[in-house]
Structure formats: C-alpha cells, structure tokens
C-alpha cells in the first residue's frame, strides 16, 4: 500500500535520542546567540569596529557550502528511504554519491574556516582581546567542532552505503546522521547574519 503523504508521521526521522541531543544543542547555542546579542548592547561601537575585521565573504561562502551540503544529505536520505525491496544496491550507490558530495562540503567548510582562523589568530586576536572576539571565537570554534563531528558521522554512513548496509525498511541510521547535519546547518543560518552582518 502506498504511503499517503497527507498522514503525519508519529515521530521525527531517525533515532529519537538524536532529537534530544538536537534540542539540547539548540538551547545551548541559543543562549550563546543571546549572550552575544545582549552583550553587544553594552558597547555597540566596539562590536561594530571588531566586526569589520571579519571576512564576510568567508562567512558567506561557508553558508552556501552548508546549505548545499544539507541538500546533498537530504538527497542521500531520499535515495535510501524511497528504495524498494529490489533496488537496494542501486539506492545505496546513489546515496553514497550524494554523501560523498556532502562530506566534500564539510571538508571545504573546514578549509575556509581554517583560513579565517589563521588570519584572525595571525593578528594576535584571542579570547581575551575583547567581548566581541570572545563570542566570535567561542561560537565559531564550537560550531566548527560540530561540523567536523558531523562530517565524521556522514563518513561512517557513507562507508555503510558502500557495503549496501541500508536495506528496505531499515534506514534509521542515515536519518539520524542527517538530522544532526541539518542541525549544524540550522545553527549556522542564525550565526552568519548575527555575527558577520548585523551591525
């Protein structure tokens, strides 16, 4: 029987535990975002002046990279979840290609972020420079760690697709990893305008 698209699913995709982690991460980053936004009020001029030292272009490129990687990941998930009992190998092969592209995006994000940190730290800026850079380094470095972990998770899923590890009706693992990756994307979508653009 074909599944009706109008019926609501009972639970979010993936393992339920990942959603607990996602909700906790959202709250943690949310507090940091608000810490930044309200701390800015104490010295708007300093925040605006410090923000000029950031490279908005690298923030922009990294945003494009993350939204594109999220697209690749959902395409991989759709390849697996729409498989039939007969085309498992084909679906896994398709998903592995999308995942490889997404992992490439994770690596590209790392290079852009690494270049940005190299430039910032090369100017002698650190956590103690001022409150703006304290938040900037904390938020972006913490987020960067999530990108690296997410890329590793995608790589594990990629390895599984290469061995046709996902079968008809058994795709919770890829949905779990994908949900984590999309959370990383969601966080950056708020972080980019807040830290790089708004002044």
């Amino acid at each position: 029987m074909a599944k009706s698209t109008t019926l609501k699913e009972k639970y979010p995709p993936g393992d339920f535990a990942i959603w607990i982690i996602i909700y906790v991460e959202l709250v943690t980053f949310g507090l940091l975002f608000l810490g930044y936004a309200f701390s800015r009020r104490a010295d708007v001029a300093m925040f605006n002046e410090s923000q000029l030292m950031l490279n908005q272009t690298s923030g922009f490129i990294n945003t494009l990279i993350l939204v594109t990687s999220s697209y690749f990941v959902i395409k991989a998930v759709k390849s697996i979840t729409s498989m039939s009992e007969e085309n498992g190998a084909e679906a896994n092969a398709k998903a592995s290609k999308w995942l490889l592209l997404a992992i490439g995006c994770g690596v590209a994000f790392g290079f852009v972020k690494g270049a940005e940190f190299y430039h910032i730290f090369g100017q002698g800026i650190n956590l103690s420079t001022n409150k703006f850079f304290m938040f900037y380094i904390m938020l972006t470095a913490f987020h960067f760690m999530h990108v690296m972990l997410g890329s590793f998770v995608l790589f594990i899923i990629y390895k599984k697709t290469k061995t046709v590890g996902y079968t008809f009706g058994d795709y919770r693992g890829i949905e779990t990893g994908a949900s984590y990756w999309h959370m990383v994307d969601l966080l950056w979508i708020v972080l980019f305008p807040l830290v790089y653009i708004i002044r």
């Binding site: 936004a37 697209y71 980019f192 708004i198």
Partner: protein, 88 residues
C-alpha cells in the same frame, strides 16, 4: 511538485546572497536588520520543514525547533532595537 528540494535549496541560496550583499555593500540599516531577521527565520524554517523533515511529523515535535527559532530571532531583534540607556 517533484523538485521541491531544489526549490528549497535555491531559496536558501538566494536569501544567503541577499544577506551577504547587505553586509558587503554596507547598506545594513535598522530597517534591513528587520528584513534580515525575517529572511533568517524563513531560511531556518525551510531547513526545519524540508531538510530535517519535520513538516510531516506531529506538531509537538515540529513546534520545538520552530519555537526555538522564533524566540531566538525575536530576542535578537529585541536586543538590537531596544533603546540603550545613556551611560551615567
């Protein structure tokens, strides 16, 4: 609408270019901050609905990230627009 994921990606990319241009062209103003926060909400909600796949799950699960996004963006707006008391 078969290619809705491509459409979602295109909207996300266009809104990202828009945000970047506001900063790059240095035309960010109090008005454009409101627009930027609005577009950020749209981008976040698109990710929640179509990439995270929460559009088709029960409201009680979908509402958590949506509420998070709404509260965070509203409070960022409050922090930006609330008048700052002059220092003594």
């Amino acid at each position: 609408m078969k290619r809705y994921l491509e459409l979602v990606w295109a909207i996300l990319a266009i809104l990202t270019v828009f945000a970047y241009l506001l900063g790059y062209l240095k035309i960010i103003s109090t008005f454009f901050v409101a627009v930027l926060l609005g577009t950020t909400f749209i981008k976040g909600q698109l990710v929640i609905d179509y990439f995270m796949g929460l559009k088709d799950v029960r409201l009680r699960y979908r509402i958590i990230p949506t509420l998070w996004l709404s509260i965070i963006i509203t409070l960022i707006g409050v922090a930006y627009y609330l008048p700052i008391a002059p220092s003594q």
